[in-house]
Protein backbone atom coordinates (compact mmCIF):
# COMPACT_ATOMS: atom_id res chain seq x y z
CA UNK A 1 0.00 0.00 0.00
CA UNK A 2 2.86 2.35 0.82
CA UNK A 3 4.16 1.84 -2.68
CA UNK A 4 0.94 3.19 -4.15
CA UNK A 5 1.13 6.40 -2.25
CA UNK A 6 4.37 7.31 -3.83
CA UNK A 7 3.65 6.29 -7.42
CA UNK A 8 1.46 8.59 -9.55
CA UNK A 9 0.82 5.98 -12.30
CA UNK A 10 -0.11 3.34 -9.83
CA UNK A 11 -2.35 5.86 -8.11
CA UNK A 12 -4.04 6.49 -11.42
CA UNK A 13 -4.53 2.80 -12.10
CA UNK A 14 -5.80 2.26 -8.58
CA UNK A 15 -8.21 5.17 -8.83
CA UNK A 16 -9.48 3.95 -12.17
CA UNK A 17 -9.83 0.49 -10.71
CA UNK A 18 -11.78 1.80 -7.75
CA UNK A 19 -14.02 3.95 -9.90
CA UNK A 20 -14.54 1.05 -12.29
CA UNK A 21 -15.38 -1.16 -9.37
CA UNK A 22 -17.86 1.39 -8.08
CA UNK A 23 -19.50 1.61 -11.47
CA UNK A 24 -19.76 -2.14 -11.60
CA UNK A 25 -21.37 -2.10 -8.18
CA UNK A 26 -23.96 0.39 -9.37
CA UNK A 27 -24.52 -1.52 -12.52
CA UNK A 28 -25.11 -4.63 -10.46
CA UNK A 29 -27.73 -2.97 -8.28
CA UNK A 30 -29.48 -1.54 -11.28
CA UNK A 31 -29.59 -4.97 -12.90
CA UNK A 32 -30.87 -6.72 -9.80
CA UNK A 33 -33.55 -4.09 -9.24
CA UNK A 34 -34.58 -4.65 -12.83
CA UNK A 35 -34.92 -8.37 -12.26
CA UNK A 36 -36.79 -7.67 -9.02
CA UNK A 37 -39.23 -5.55 -10.96
CA UNK A 38 -39.60 -8.28 -13.53
CA UNK A 39 -40.47 -10.87 -10.92
CA UNK A 40 -42.91 -8.46 -9.24
CA UNK A 41 -44.90 -7.81 -12.44
CA UNK A 42 -48.11 -9.85 -12.17
CA UNK A 43 -48.58 -12.65 -14.66
CA UNK A 44 -50.56 -11.47 -17.61
CA UNK A 45 -53.07 -14.29 -17.38
CA UNK A 46 -54.44 -15.47 -14.13
CA UNK A 47 -57.50 -17.01 -12.55
CA UNK A 48 -58.84 -15.31 -9.46
CA UNK A 49 -61.10 -17.16 -7.08
CA UNK A 50 -63.23 -15.17 -4.68
CA UNK A 51 -65.24 -16.34 -1.72
CA UNK A 52 -67.73 -13.61 -0.86
CA UNK A 53 -69.35 -13.55 2.54
CA UNK A 54 -71.07 -11.31 5.05
CA UNK A 55 -70.07 -10.40 8.58
CA UNK A 56 -72.28 -12.90 10.34
CA UNK A 57 -72.26 -16.39 8.92
CA UNK A 58 -73.98 -19.69 9.44
CA UNK A 59 -72.04 -22.91 9.87
CA UNK A 60 -72.68 -23.93 6.25
CA UNK A 61 -71.23 -20.64 5.07
CA UNK A 62 -68.04 -21.21 7.06
CA UNK A 63 -67.80 -24.79 5.83
CA UNK A 64 -67.98 -23.59 2.23
CA UNK A 65 -65.05 -21.29 2.79
CA UNK A 66 -63.11 -24.09 4.43
CA UNK A 67 -63.75 -26.55 1.60
CA UNK A 68 -62.85 -23.96 -1.05
CA UNK A 69 -59.62 -23.13 0.76
CA UNK A 70 -58.75 -26.81 0.99
CA UNK A 71 -59.20 -27.27 -2.75
CA UNK A 72 -56.99 -24.28 -3.47
CA UNK A 73 -54.28 -25.30 -1.04
CA UNK A 74 -54.16 -28.94 -2.08
CA UNK A 75 -54.95 -29.00 -5.79
CA UNK A 76 -53.64 -25.64 -6.86
CA UNK A 77 -50.59 -25.17 -4.64
CA UNK A 78 -48.22 -25.01 -7.63
CA UNK A 79 -50.51 -22.68 -9.52
CA UNK A 80 -50.66 -20.35 -6.53
CA UNK A 81 -46.87 -20.32 -6.29
CA UNK A 82 -46.56 -19.58 -9.99
CA UNK A 83 -49.10 -16.81 -9.64
CA UNK A 84 -51.57 -18.42 -12.03
CA UNK A 85 -54.28 -18.71 -9.42
CA UNK A 86 -55.15 -16.32 -6.65
CA UNK A 87 -57.65 -16.82 -3.85
CA UNK A 88 -59.33 -14.03 -1.97
CA UNK A 89 -61.88 -14.05 0.84
CA UNK A 90 -63.98 -10.89 0.76
CA UNK A 91 -66.50 -9.56 3.26
CA UNK A 92 -68.92 -7.63 1.06
CA UNK A 93 -70.46 -5.84 4.00
CA UNK A 94 -67.31 -3.79 4.47
CA UNK A 95 -67.70 -0.44 2.77
CA UNK A 96 -64.58 -0.79 0.67
CA UNK A 97 -65.92 -4.04 -0.81
CA UNK A 98 -69.40 -2.84 -1.70
CA UNK A 99 -68.56 -2.48 -5.39
CA UNK A 100 -68.22 -6.23 -5.71
CA UNK A 101 -71.94 -6.66 -4.98
CA UNK A 102 -73.01 -4.85 -8.10
CA UNK A 103 -70.20 -6.18 -10.23
CA UNK A 104 -70.85 -9.84 -9.57
CA UNK A 105 -74.57 -9.67 -8.68
CA UNK A 106 -73.87 -10.99 -5.23
CA UNK A 107 -77.01 -12.08 -3.44
CA UNK A 108 -75.62 -14.46 -0.83
CA UNK A 109 -72.35 -16.20 0.07
CA UNK A 110 -70.80 -17.08 -3.27
CA UNK A 111 -67.73 -18.45 -4.97
CA UNK A 112 -66.88 -16.44 -8.05
CA UNK A 113 -64.12 -17.44 -10.47
CA UNK A 114 -62.74 -14.66 -12.61
CA UNK A 115 -60.42 -15.01 -15.60
CA UNK A 116 -57.97 -12.21 -16.23
CA UNK A 117 -56.27 -11.93 -19.60
CA UNK A 118 -53.67 -9.23 -20.23
CA UNK A 119 -54.42 -7.92 -16.78
CA UNK A 120 -58.09 -7.35 -17.61
CA UNK A 121 -61.06 -9.41 -16.60
CA UNK A 122 -62.25 -11.37 -19.60
CA UNK A 123 -65.02 -13.39 -18.05
CA UNK A 124 -66.35 -14.58 -14.73
CA UNK A 125 -68.72 -17.16 -13.44
CA UNK A 126 -70.71 -17.89 -10.34
CA UNK A 127 -70.29 -21.40 -8.98
CA UNK A 128 -73.89 -21.48 -7.85
CA UNK A 129 -74.16 -25.20 -7.23
CA UNK A 130 -72.20 -24.82 -4.00
CA UNK A 131 -75.39 -24.64 -1.97
CA UNK A 132 -76.61 -27.95 -3.41
CA UNK A 133 -73.27 -29.70 -3.01
CA UNK A 134 -72.12 -28.48 0.38
CA UNK A 135 -73.65 -31.52 2.06
CA UNK A 136 -71.17 -33.71 0.19
CA UNK A 137 -67.63 -32.36 0.66
CA UNK A 138 -66.07 -34.47 -2.11
CA UNK A 139 -68.61 -33.37 -4.71
CA UNK A 140 -68.32 -29.79 -3.52
CA UNK A 141 -64.56 -29.84 -3.89
CA UNK A 142 -64.73 -31.49 -7.33
CA UNK A 143 -67.13 -28.82 -8.47
CA UNK A 144 -64.79 -26.04 -7.31
CA UNK A 145 -61.78 -27.80 -8.80
CA UNK A 146 -63.46 -28.20 -12.18
CA UNK A 147 -64.63 -24.62 -12.14
CA UNK A 148 -61.10 -23.33 -11.66
CA UNK A 149 -59.52 -25.80 -14.07
CA UNK A 150 -61.91 -24.81 -16.81
CA UNK A 151 -60.58 -21.26 -16.76
CA UNK A 152 -56.97 -22.30 -16.22
CA UNK A 153 -56.94 -24.55 -19.24
CA UNK A 154 -58.85 -22.33 -21.61
Amino acid sequence: MFYLLGHPLRNLFLSLFCVGFIFLGFADTTNSSQTDKNSKIKPVNLVKVYYFHTTYRCRTCTLMQQYTEEVIEVDFADAIKAGDVQFEVVNVELKENNDYIKKYNIYTKMVIVSKLTDGKEKEWKNLDKIWDLVKNPEEFKSYIREGIEEYLNS
Partner: protein, 229 residues
Amino acid sequence: MDSYFFDLGFALWLGILTSLSPCPMATNIAAISFIGRQFQTQRSVFGAGIFYMVGRTLTYIILGAILVTSTQSVPFVAMFLQKYMLKIIGPVLVVVGIILLGIIKFSFQGGGFNENVQKRLATAGWTGSLSLGMLFALSFCPPAAAIFFGSLFSLALKQSSKFIIPALYGIGTALPVLVFAFVIAFSTNRLGVLFNRLSTFEKWARKITAIIFIVAGIYVSLKSFGLVY
Protein backbone atom coordinates in the same frame (compact mmCIF):
# COMPACT_ATOMS: atom_id res chain seq x y z
CA MET B 1 -95.05 -26.33 -23.58
CA ASP B 2 -93.45 -29.28 -21.80
CA SER B 3 -90.70 -27.10 -20.47
CA TYR B 4 -93.26 -24.67 -19.06
CA PHE B 5 -95.06 -27.26 -16.98
CA PHE B 6 -91.79 -28.75 -15.91
CA ASP B 7 -90.62 -25.34 -14.74
CA LEU B 8 -93.86 -24.82 -12.84
CA GLY B 9 -93.39 -28.12 -11.07
CA PHE B 10 -89.78 -27.27 -10.41
CA ALA B 11 -90.79 -23.96 -8.80
CA LEU B 12 -93.16 -25.81 -6.49
CA TRP B 13 -90.46 -28.33 -5.70
CA LEU B 14 -87.94 -25.58 -4.90
CA GLY B 15 -90.42 -24.20 -2.39
CA ILE B 16 -90.88 -27.55 -0.71
CA LEU B 17 -87.12 -28.05 -0.67
CA THR B 18 -86.59 -24.68 0.99
CA SER B 19 -89.15 -25.48 3.66
CA LEU B 20 -87.62 -28.85 4.45
CA SER B 21 -84.07 -27.57 4.91
CA PRO B 22 -82.86 -27.19 8.50
CA CYS B 23 -82.52 -23.47 8.11
CA PRO B 24 -86.15 -22.36 8.54
CA MET B 25 -86.73 -25.00 11.21
CA ALA B 26 -87.38 -22.51 14.01
CA THR B 27 -89.92 -20.45 12.08
CA ASN B 28 -91.55 -23.61 10.70
CA ILE B 29 -92.09 -25.01 14.18
CA ALA B 30 -93.56 -21.72 15.31
CA ALA B 31 -95.88 -21.71 12.30
CA ILE B 32 -96.92 -25.33 12.83
CA SER B 33 -97.82 -24.71 16.44
CA PHE B 34 -99.66 -21.51 15.55
CA ILE B 35 -101.78 -23.21 12.91
CA GLY B 36 -102.11 -26.55 14.66
CA ARG B 37 -103.43 -25.27 17.94
CA GLN B 38 -106.70 -24.44 16.22
CA PHE B 39 -107.55 -28.07 16.55
CA GLN B 40 -110.98 -27.47 18.01
CA THR B 41 -112.40 -27.65 14.56
CA GLN B 42 -110.96 -28.83 11.32
CA ARG B 43 -112.25 -25.67 9.70
CA SER B 44 -110.11 -23.51 11.99
CA VAL B 45 -106.95 -25.41 11.21
CA PHE B 46 -107.72 -25.43 7.53
CA GLY B 47 -108.47 -21.72 7.54
CA ALA B 48 -105.35 -20.83 9.48
CA GLY B 49 -103.24 -23.04 7.24
CA ILE B 50 -104.60 -21.64 4.00
CA PHE B 51 -104.14 -18.05 5.13
CA TYR B 52 -100.58 -18.81 6.21
CA MET B 53 -99.96 -20.18 2.73
CA VAL B 54 -101.60 -17.14 1.15
CA GLY B 55 -99.42 -14.86 3.26
CA ARG B 56 -96.22 -16.53 2.16
CA THR B 57 -97.34 -16.65 -1.46
CA LEU B 58 -98.26 -12.95 -1.44
CA THR B 59 -94.83 -11.99 -0.19
CA TYR B 60 -93.07 -14.03 -2.86
CA ILE B 61 -95.30 -12.67 -5.60
CA ILE B 62 -94.54 -9.10 -4.55
CA LEU B 63 -90.83 -9.86 -4.27
CA GLY B 64 -90.84 -11.69 -7.58
CA ALA B 65 -92.58 -8.83 -9.32
CA ILE B 66 -90.09 -6.30 -7.98
CA LEU B 67 -87.08 -8.41 -8.88
CA VAL B 68 -88.20 -9.46 -12.36
CA THR B 69 -89.07 -5.85 -13.17
CA SER B 70 -85.79 -4.54 -11.92
CA THR B 71 -83.17 -7.25 -12.03
CA GLN B 72 -80.51 -4.84 -10.87
CA SER B 73 -82.16 -4.67 -7.50
CA VAL B 74 -81.61 -8.36 -6.81
CA PRO B 75 -78.31 -8.06 -4.94
CA PHE B 76 -79.49 -5.16 -2.83
CA VAL B 77 -82.83 -6.74 -1.87
CA ALA B 78 -81.25 -10.12 -1.21
CA MET B 79 -78.45 -8.81 1.00
CA PHE B 80 -80.78 -6.42 2.83
CA LEU B 81 -83.31 -9.11 3.71
CA GLN B 82 -80.67 -11.60 4.78
CA LYS B 83 -79.01 -9.05 6.98
CA TYR B 84 -82.01 -7.52 8.71
CA MET B 85 -85.03 -9.82 8.60
CA LEU B 86 -83.88 -12.36 11.15
CA LYS B 87 -83.00 -9.52 13.49
CA ILE B 88 -86.59 -8.29 13.16
CA ILE B 89 -88.34 -11.65 13.29
CA GLY B 90 -86.55 -12.80 16.42
CA PRO B 91 -87.87 -10.05 18.68
CA VAL B 92 -91.29 -10.15 17.00
CA LEU B 93 -91.64 -13.84 17.85
CA VAL B 94 -90.66 -13.19 21.45
CA VAL B 95 -93.14 -10.35 21.78
CA VAL B 96 -95.97 -12.37 20.24
CA GLY B 97 -95.12 -15.26 22.53
CA ILE B 98 -95.20 -13.03 25.56
CA ILE B 99 -98.55 -11.57 24.53
CA LEU B 100 -99.95 -15.06 23.98
CA LEU B 101 -98.84 -16.02 27.47
CA GLY B 102 -100.69 -13.03 28.76
CA ILE B 103 -97.77 -11.88 30.87
CA ILE B 104 -97.61 -8.38 29.52
CA LYS B 105 -100.76 -6.40 29.16
CA PHE B 106 -100.59 -3.37 26.95
CA SER B 107 -102.23 -0.34 28.44
CA PHE B 108 -101.96 2.14 25.63
CA GLN B 109 -105.56 3.16 25.45
CA GLY B 110 -107.02 1.32 28.34
CA GLY B 111 -108.51 -2.12 28.39
CA GLY B 112 -110.05 -1.96 24.95
CA PHE B 113 -106.80 -2.05 23.04
CA ASN B 114 -105.27 -4.66 25.27
CA GLU B 115 -108.15 -7.00 24.97
CA ASN B 116 -108.27 -6.58 21.23
CA VAL B 117 -104.62 -7.53 20.75
CA GLN B 118 -104.79 -10.47 23.10
CA LYS B 119 -108.03 -11.74 21.70
CA ARG B 120 -106.92 -11.42 18.14
CA LEU B 121 -103.71 -13.28 18.74
CA ALA B 122 -105.31 -15.86 20.97
CA THR B 123 -107.94 -16.82 18.47
CA ALA B 124 -105.19 -16.89 15.86
CA GLY B 125 -107.50 -15.39 13.42
CA TRP B 126 -106.92 -15.64 9.81
CA THR B 127 -105.27 -12.20 9.79
CA GLY B 128 -102.73 -13.54 12.26
CA SER B 129 -101.93 -16.49 10.06
CA LEU B 130 -101.72 -14.26 7.00
CA SER B 131 -99.35 -11.83 8.72
CA LEU B 132 -97.26 -14.67 10.04
CA GLY B 133 -96.99 -16.15 6.57
CA MET B 134 -95.96 -12.83 5.05
CA LEU B 135 -93.38 -12.17 7.75
CA PHE B 136 -91.81 -15.62 7.75
CA ALA B 137 -91.55 -15.58 3.96
CA LEU B 138 -89.13 -12.69 4.25
CA SER B 139 -86.77 -14.52 6.60
CA PHE B 140 -84.14 -15.66 4.15
CA CYS B 141 -81.26 -17.60 5.56
CA PRO B 142 -78.43 -18.11 3.03
CA PRO B 143 -79.49 -21.49 1.60
CA ALA B 144 -83.05 -20.19 1.09
CA ALA B 145 -81.67 -16.99 -0.44
CA ALA B 146 -79.47 -19.01 -2.76
CA ILE B 147 -82.52 -20.95 -3.95
CA PHE B 148 -84.87 -17.98 -4.25
CA PHE B 149 -82.56 -15.31 -5.65
CA GLY B 150 -80.61 -17.83 -7.69
CA SER B 151 -82.50 -20.81 -9.08
CA LEU B 152 -86.05 -19.54 -8.72
CA PHE B 153 -85.25 -16.09 -9.98
CA SER B 154 -83.58 -17.50 -13.12
CA LEU B 155 -86.65 -19.64 -13.64
CA ALA B 156 -88.96 -16.66 -13.32
CA LEU B 157 -86.86 -14.67 -15.77
CA LYS B 158 -86.78 -17.55 -18.21
CA GLN B 159 -90.56 -17.82 -18.20
CA SER B 160 -91.05 -14.05 -17.85
CA SER B 161 -93.21 -14.90 -14.91
CA LYS B 162 -93.90 -12.29 -12.28
CA PHE B 163 -96.77 -14.21 -10.81
CA ILE B 164 -97.06 -17.92 -11.34
CA ILE B 165 -93.51 -19.06 -10.65
CA PRO B 166 -93.10 -17.10 -7.39
CA ALA B 167 -96.63 -18.10 -6.37
CA LEU B 168 -95.90 -21.79 -6.81
CA TYR B 169 -92.72 -21.36 -4.84
CA GLY B 170 -94.72 -19.77 -2.03
CA ILE B 171 -97.22 -22.63 -2.02
CA GLY B 172 -94.35 -25.07 -1.91
CA THR B 173 -92.80 -23.41 1.13
CA ALA B 174 -96.06 -23.60 3.03
CA LEU B 175 -96.99 -27.18 2.11
CA PRO B 176 -94.79 -29.12 4.57
CA VAL B 177 -95.88 -26.79 7.37
CA LEU B 178 -99.53 -27.36 6.51
CA VAL B 179 -99.12 -31.11 6.42
CA PHE B 180 -97.46 -31.23 9.81
CA ALA B 181 -99.94 -28.79 11.29
CA PHE B 182 -102.88 -30.88 10.12
CA VAL B 183 -101.35 -34.10 11.42
CA ILE B 184 -100.64 -32.60 14.83
CA ALA B 185 -104.01 -30.89 15.03
CA PHE B 186 -105.82 -34.05 14.05
CA SER B 187 -103.93 -36.22 16.55
CA THR B 188 -104.37 -33.72 19.37
CA ASN B 189 -108.04 -33.44 18.58
CA ARG B 190 -108.47 -37.20 18.60
CA LEU B 191 -106.53 -37.48 21.83
CA GLY B 192 -108.54 -34.71 23.40
CA VAL B 193 -111.79 -36.33 22.41
CA LEU B 194 -110.52 -39.69 23.58
CA PHE B 195 -109.58 -38.43 27.01
CA ASN B 196 -112.51 -36.07 27.11
CA ARG B 197 -110.16 -33.25 27.91
CA LEU B 198 -110.51 -31.14 24.81
CA SER B 199 -110.81 -27.82 26.64
CA THR B 200 -107.80 -28.54 28.85
CA PHE B 201 -105.77 -29.38 25.77
CA GLU B 202 -106.86 -26.14 24.14
CA LYS B 203 -105.75 -24.11 27.16
CA TRP B 204 -102.37 -25.79 27.13
CA ALA B 205 -102.06 -25.44 23.38
CA ARG B 206 -101.97 -21.67 23.64
CA LYS B 207 -99.35 -21.77 26.39
CA ILE B 208 -97.21 -24.24 24.48
CA THR B 209 -97.46 -22.14 21.34
CA ALA B 210 -96.44 -19.09 23.35
CA ILE B 211 -93.40 -20.84 24.76
CA ILE B 212 -92.43 -22.17 21.33
CA PHE B 213 -92.65 -18.63 19.97
CA ILE B 214 -90.44 -17.24 22.71
CA VAL B 215 -87.83 -19.98 22.36
CA ALA B 216 -87.88 -19.72 18.56
CA GLY B 217 -87.60 -15.94 18.83
CA ILE B 218 -84.58 -16.12 21.10
CA TYR B 219 -82.93 -18.72 18.90
CA VAL B 220 -83.52 -16.71 15.72
CA SER B 221 -82.21 -13.56 17.40
CA LEU B 222 -79.04 -15.30 18.52
CA LYS B 223 -78.61 -16.77 15.05
CA SER B 224 -78.99 -13.39 13.40
CA PHE B 225 -76.03 -12.16 15.39
CA GLY B 226 -73.95 -15.21 14.58
CA LEU B 227 -73.98 -16.38 18.17
CA VAL B 228 -75.38 -19.77 17.33
CA TYR B 229 -75.30 -21.75 14.13
